[in-house]
Structures are given as C-alpha cells and as structure tokens.
C-alpha cells in the first residue's frame, strides 16, 4: 500500500492564498474524492503535490519520502501520477506513441505489484482504445482523449493516480465508462484520488471524500457522512429542495 501524507500544505501566489494549510492522507487502497467550489484550491493542491508548484510551506511525504519542492518529473518517476484538467496528450503523435513514451519513462515499482504493461497495445486495450493505436491523438474525439489521458498516466506503472476532473466534458455514458475504468485500475493496485464536480459520480465511486473551501479542508470522511455535513451543504451542495 502506498501513502501520500500532506501536512499543513500552504501555497500562496503573491497575495493570494490558494492553499491555507491543508492536511490530507491518501491511501492507495481506497478511492478518495476531493470536491469543493471553484477556486477552492483543488487543482492547486494537485499541482503543488506533484511538483508543478513549489509549496510555500508544509510537507508532502510519498511513501515516507519527502517530495515537497521536487521537480515534477522526479515525482512522476516515484510512482505518483496525475492527469490534468484539460485533456492533455501529445497531439501530433499516435496513440501508441503516446502511451509508449509513458511506459518508457515509468517508475519501477519496488513491490512488483500494480499494472505491468508489456506493450503499448496492452495498455491501450486496458482503456479500450486499442482500435485507435495508429490514429493521431489530435484527431481523437474528446471522450477518447480523456481515456488517453488516463492511459498515459497509467503507463508509468504508478502506485497512486491523482485525477483532476477526469469527467469534465464527458456525457452520461462516457462518465459511466470512466467510472468502470477507474475501478478496474484500482483493482489492479493503483490508488485513485479524484477531483470532480459530478457529485453523483463521486458518491458512486468514492468511499471517502475530502472537501476544500478557500484553500481549507472543511470536511474529510466517509462519503455519506460528508455529503450530509451541514457545512458542506452550505458551502457547496446547496439546500435540499
């Protein structure tokens, strides 16, 4: 089991406080959801943990290793992977090349567990894109790009995957497919932590939820309890009709 320990993480941009001291523990055995209004710091949290930003203060420990302030590529190599809010890919390359690069730069997991992709085709098959292996990424419809993003993140054989709004822009059917995909990845041994706004999707997928508001964590616990927490309802979910 892999653990991500975030303690008192603070990130400011000039005068703006994006993260005001967040404590969060992420275990790879569970599926954790992070929700909150826009601007509450969710993406900044992922970016700071994954090395896109340097933390202003606080600590981040990944499997006991202090990764705060490490460059993004070093963190990626340690088995902590992430996807982005915009659907990211290597646009002019084929899908096969996209995942091939990810596989070639992946981490070597010490525990030998988790997905071991023996070929790019195997990974594409896992996400259901094997038919498009020779297609250029920027010709793909949006739903496929989202799945490609997950595939690229999985290519590095991560122990933990942080997904930033992976369902944004997907329709009902595509969202359901994504849930299935993430569950299957979890079963393979990859921890899943997901930011999203689809409360229904989160409720179905996640056993535990954390809620951010103005850079503070205001709730953290089993999904049912959090969704019924009056503070959370006031700040994010709205009153019941």
């Amino acid at each position: 089991m892999a653990t991500l320990e975030i303690r008192a993480l603070r990130k400011t941009f000039g005068g703006v406080v994006a993260l005001a001291g967040v404590d969060l523990t992420v275990h790879s055995e569970e599926i954790l959801g992070v929700i909150g209004p826009n601007g509450s710091g969710k993406t900044t949290l992922f970016n700071t943990v994954c090395g896109v930003y340097r933390p202003t203060s606080g600590t981040v420990h990944w499997n006991g290793v202090d990764i705060a302030g490490k460059p993004a590529y070093a963190i990626g190599r340690l088995g902590l992977a992430r996807t982005f809010q915009q659907a990211m890919s290597f646009p002019a390359l084929t899908l096969r090349e996209n995942v091939q690069i990810a596989i070639e730069h992946g981490s070597r997991r010490a525990d030998g567990a988790g997905p071991q992709w023996s070929s790019p085709e195997e990974l594409l098959q896992f996400v259901g894109l094997e038919a498009f292996a020779n297609e250029i990424a920027n010709t793909m419809p949006f739903g496929n790009l989202r799945r490609l993003g997950v595939a690229v993140a999985l290519g590095g054989r991560p122990s933990q995957l942080l997904l930033d709004e992976p369902a944004a822009g997907l329709n009902e059917g595509e969202s359901v497919q994504l849930i299935h995909l993430l569950r299957r990845a979890h079963q393979l041994g990859v921890g899943i932590c997901i930011i999203d706004h689809h409360v229904g999707l989160m409720a179905e997928l996640c056993a535990r939820l954390a809620v951010l508001h103005f850079g503070n964590k205001i709730a953290d616990g089993p999904t049912e309890a959090v969704l019924n927490d009056p503070k959370v309802i006031e700040v994010y979910l709205g009153e019941e009709q």
């Binding site: 994954c50 090395g51 896109v52 460059p71 993004a72 590529y73 070093a74 990626g76 190599r77 992977a81 992430r82 982005f84 990211m88 890919s89 290597f90 646009p91 002019a92 390359l93 084929t94 096969r96 090349e97 091939q100 690069i101 990810a102 070639e104 730069h105 992946g106 981490s107 020779n134 297609e135 250029i136 920027n138 010709t139 690229v152 993140a153 290519g155 590095g156």
Partner: protein, 354 residues
C-alpha cells in the same frame, strides 16, 4: 494557451493513419540506395571544379543541418546559433593545427568537444526563455562570437582569419584531390543522416518529441525535460563540430564572417525549407539553397529573393518543409491513381524521420 500555440506551430499535418515505422519500406530503401550511389558517383560525371567545390560546401552544411534536426526537428526548439558552433569547431581545428601541428583527424575530437560544450552553453537559456526569444538570444550569442573572433588579435587571426594546411592522406588516398575530399565529406554526410535517423526513431527521439508536443505532460510522466533539452543541443554540437573541422580543412581558410548570425539564419532557412523532420529534408534544404543556385549560375541576389520567398511559402503553406510536401503530393497522386487509400506506410517511411 501558449502551450497549445506552441504545439500547433510548424507541425506537419497529421495523416489519419500511420503505420508503425520501425523499419522503412522497400521503396524507401531503394530510393535511399539510389541517392547514396548517385551522390558518391557524382565526381565521375565530370561536374567540373566549381560544381564539385560547391558540392563539398553543401555536404558540410548538410552535416550541420542534420545536427539541427535534433533539437529543432525533434524537440521543437529553434536556435540561430549554429554558425557559431560550426565556427567553434573550425577555429579549434585551425588553432590546434597552427600551434600544435595537429591534423584534421587528431583535431576532430577537440573540435567536437569544444562545439559540444558551447552548444550546451548556448542551449542553457532555452530553459528560461521560450521560442522566438530564445532564437534571438542565440542569434545574438553568435554575433558576439563573431565580434570576439574579429577582435581576437593574433590568436584568432582577427578579421583576416586563419589558414590551414592540406588534409594529407587517409589510407593511401590523397585527400587534397578535390574528388577524394568530396567523397570523404559525402561519407560524413550520410553518416550524419543515418545518425539523425537513428536518433529520431529511438526511445530518445520519442522523448524529445514528447517535450515538443506537450512539455508539461512530458514532465508529469517522468521526462527530465531540462536535461534533454540541453542534451539535444549538445548532440547537435557534435555535428557542428565535425562540420566545422571538415569545412576548415577543405577550404584551407576561415574567417569570422563565415560564422555570424547571418549564416545561422541561412542554416535555419535551409533546414526549414527542406523540412527538419524528414530524413532527406536537411540535405534537400542544403542542396536547394547552397548548391542549385550556384551550379545553375543563378544570380545570387535573385536566388536569395527566391528562397526567402520559398521560406515564407513553406512556413505559411507547406509546414514540414519541401520534402514532407513532396511526400504528401506523392501520396495524393498515388491515391488518385489507384482510387483507394494508398499504402501510406511506404511513402511515409522513406520520407519521414518520425
């Protein structure tokens, strides 16, 4: 956002299907074989001293251009400093010959070393500055080198430059004979072409392309982008050093004006015109700009107007360069003739490095 803009720049239009091109098709191999034979057999067609001499220049230039294809074609970073790197190689060779009596072969590793280190140095700013700003910086660095060479007094021969001794013999072959010198340069040129091809089709080439395509994503999946960018430049310095060494010994005289920003501009023009991501692109660019106008006795002023216009046309209308456009035209013609999607693998494999 800027990233998307950077991704969109100068990218060859994507064909819908591309076969996995680990190995080129037979058609491509035959074309390459014909080219190799043709190039090596050139002196036997009695082209004359002038044409042969320009052919040597073209070959030396092509070597540098293949080096450029790595950071520019693969990693997507343009540098206008290549004439300077070539100059480092050439001047190192000249100075070592004058002060230590080294010949071309002994001097070559030193030329390469100096060029590689300087290429790394020239490449460092790319980690802080993007795109065109970096290009301007490299242009300026190149000009600084030229100014330093002009003011280098006795050491660099100042504005007059330096002379070099003849190339001597190699395995019993007199290299001073122009025909033999040409063959040597041609050999190095094909070696450069092959190296560039191998780099492009390797894991390293894929890594560089990932940086070009989406640097943020590349970093997220574990690519040390900074290291690879500088590394790509250093690798291109290798080619520039070899080219500089060969140029110095072939023409027996070098001077600072050969290695200024303007020359770098012409290098960039050639590589963009031919196409930095196709296997024959850099060679084509060198031939079109350096060899053809001279051999066809086109007025140099007219020819420069022509390829300035050609560059504009290529940049605006034919991304990927002339060779890539020719490849697309070939595939289009093949489809039109056969009435069905052509075996797109064959045309691609020979034409493209990626």
């Amino acid at each position: 956002m800027a990233q998307m803009a950077a991704i969109a720049e100068a990218r060859p239009p994507a064909s819908r299907q591309r076969k996995n091109r680990a190995l080129p098709s037979s058609a491509a191999l035959i074309a390459t074989a014909i080219l190799v034979v043709g190039v090596f057999a050139f002196p036997w067609f009695n082209p004359g001293y002038r044409a042969l001499s320009f052919a040597v220049t073209t070959g030396v230039t092509a070597i540098v251009l293949y080096g450029m294809a790595i950071p520019f074609g693969q990693a997507g970073i343009m540098s206008l400093g290549y004439a300077g790197l070539m100059g480092f190689g050439a001047y190192t060779a000249a100075i070592l010959s004058r002060d230590f009596g080294m010949n071309m072969w002994v001097a070559m590793p030193f030329s390469v070393l100096v060029a590689v280190l300087c290429a790394g140095l020239f490449g460092l700013p790319s980690l802080r500055i993007s795109g065109h700003h970096f290009a301007i910086t490299t242009y300026v660095m190149c000009e600084l080198l030229r100014i330093a060479l002009i003011n280098g007094g006795k050491f660099t021969g100042a504005a007059t430059g330096l002379d070099l001794p003849p190339m001597g013999m190699l395995l019993g072959v007199k290299l001073d004979k122009l025909g033999n010198a040409y063959e040597l340069v041609a050999a190095f040129m094909f070696l450069s072409m092959l190296t560039a091809y191998c780099v492009a089709n390797s894991r390293y080439g894929r890594t560089l392309r990932s940086i070009r395509e989406n640097e943020q994503l590349a970093r997220a999946i574990g690519v040390n982008a900074n290291l690879h960018k500088v590394g790509a430049f250093m690798l291109s310095g290798l080619f520039a050093g070899v080219g500089g060494d060969l140029q110095a010994y072939n023409f027996r005289h070098i001077s600072p004006d050969l290695y200024g920003g303007a020359t770098s501009l012409y290098f960039a023009l050639m590589v963009m015109l031919g196409g930095p991501r196709t296997i024959f692109g850099p060679l084509a660019g060198a031939i079109i700009v350096t060899f053809l106008p001279e051999v066809m006795r086109i007025d140099p002023v007219d020819s420069r107007i022509a390829y300035g216009l050609a560059l504009i046309a290529v940049v605006m209308l034919l991304p990927g360069g002339v060779i890539a456009a020719a490849g697309r035209a070939y595939r289009w013609a093949a489809r039109a003739l056969h009435g069905a999607p052509a075996n797109s693998g064959s045309a691609d494999a020979g034409a493209s490095l990626t």
